[in-house]
């Protein structure tokens, strides 16, 4: 099973650079395909959007959201609208083909706390998908 790891980043994001460096190292060691994708409207003419910010929209909440999320959305509508317009980076997307179906795990956000544990968990997850030890 082929696994690809994509990272959606912005050029003006210092946390993204740190994560890109680490993931480059991981891909060089394990042979996992890693693709950094620039997501910004600053340099491009077309609207580029990340995978996460659409989950704050009203349509997504009504279609796929849980009851708790819907209740929260009605309470804090202006906040969600602000989040919908802004984009959250970095967004890490682990993508694989499972018997003709494309499956995705989307991880949003980044923090330096427990950075090593998170990377270790990520490698474990990918090894579980490919059914081989990395």
């Amino acid at each position: 099973m082929a696994v690809t790891v994509r990272l959606q980043f912005r050029p003006t994001c210092p946390r993204c650079d740190e994560l890109i460096e680490k993931l480059m190292e991981v891909s060089a060691r394990t042979g996992i395909e890693f693709i950094p994708e620039m997501v910004s409207t600053e340099l491009e003419t077309h609207l580029a959007s990340d995978e996460v910010h659409r989950t704050y929209s009203e349509e997504w909440m009504k279609e796929h959201g849980t009851q708790k999320q819907r209740a929260l959305y009605e309470k804090a509508k202006p906040l969600f609208k602000y989040l919908e317009d802004s984009s959250t980076v970095p967004v890490l997307i682990v993508e694989w083909d499972d018997g003709g179906k494309k499956r995705q795990i989307i991880i949003k956000g980044f923090s330096q706390e427990k950075f090593d544990i998170a990377v270790k968990n990520l490698i474990y997850m990918i090894s579980r998908i490919t059914l081989r030890s990395l």
């Binding site: 279609e63 018997g99 499956r103 989307i106 991880i107 949003k108 956000g109 968990n121 579980r128």
Partner: protein
């Protein structure tokens, strides 16, 4: 009735029945666009038809199918905090168990 007469009679009946069953209509009422396709089907050469359908496939969507929901169900959203937690191993195992159940 002698045996030869009996045989002749049976042959005559069988011929008549076969003529009725295997008759061809003198003039077929088929539209111009369908005629070449029907000829291909009759001659047993489906390759051209098959190719045409391969390039222009038709997808059937039944009523009540939730295409959007299925497409969204393939995605799992996590936060970095969840990825960095110690119990992440258990969550991953549970997730793959669920995926295997869905396959079966």
């Amino acid at each position: 009735m002698s045996v030869t007469a009996m045989n002749d009679f049976v042959n005559f009946v069988v011929d008549a029945v076969l003529k009725v069953l295997l008759r061809r209509p003198a003039k077929e009422e088929v539209s111009v666009s369908l005629a070449p396709a029907l000829n291909l089907v009759r001659s047993g050469e489906f390759a051209e038809l098959r190719g045409r359908h391969a390039f222009y496939p038709k997808f059937l969507v039944e009523e009540g199918m939730k295409v959007k929901g299925q497409a969204e169900g393939e995605r799992i959203y996590l936060s970095w905090r969840e990825l960095a937690s110690d119990k992440f191993f258990e969550d991953v195992e549970k997730m793959f168990e669920m995926l295997q159940k869905r396959k079966q």
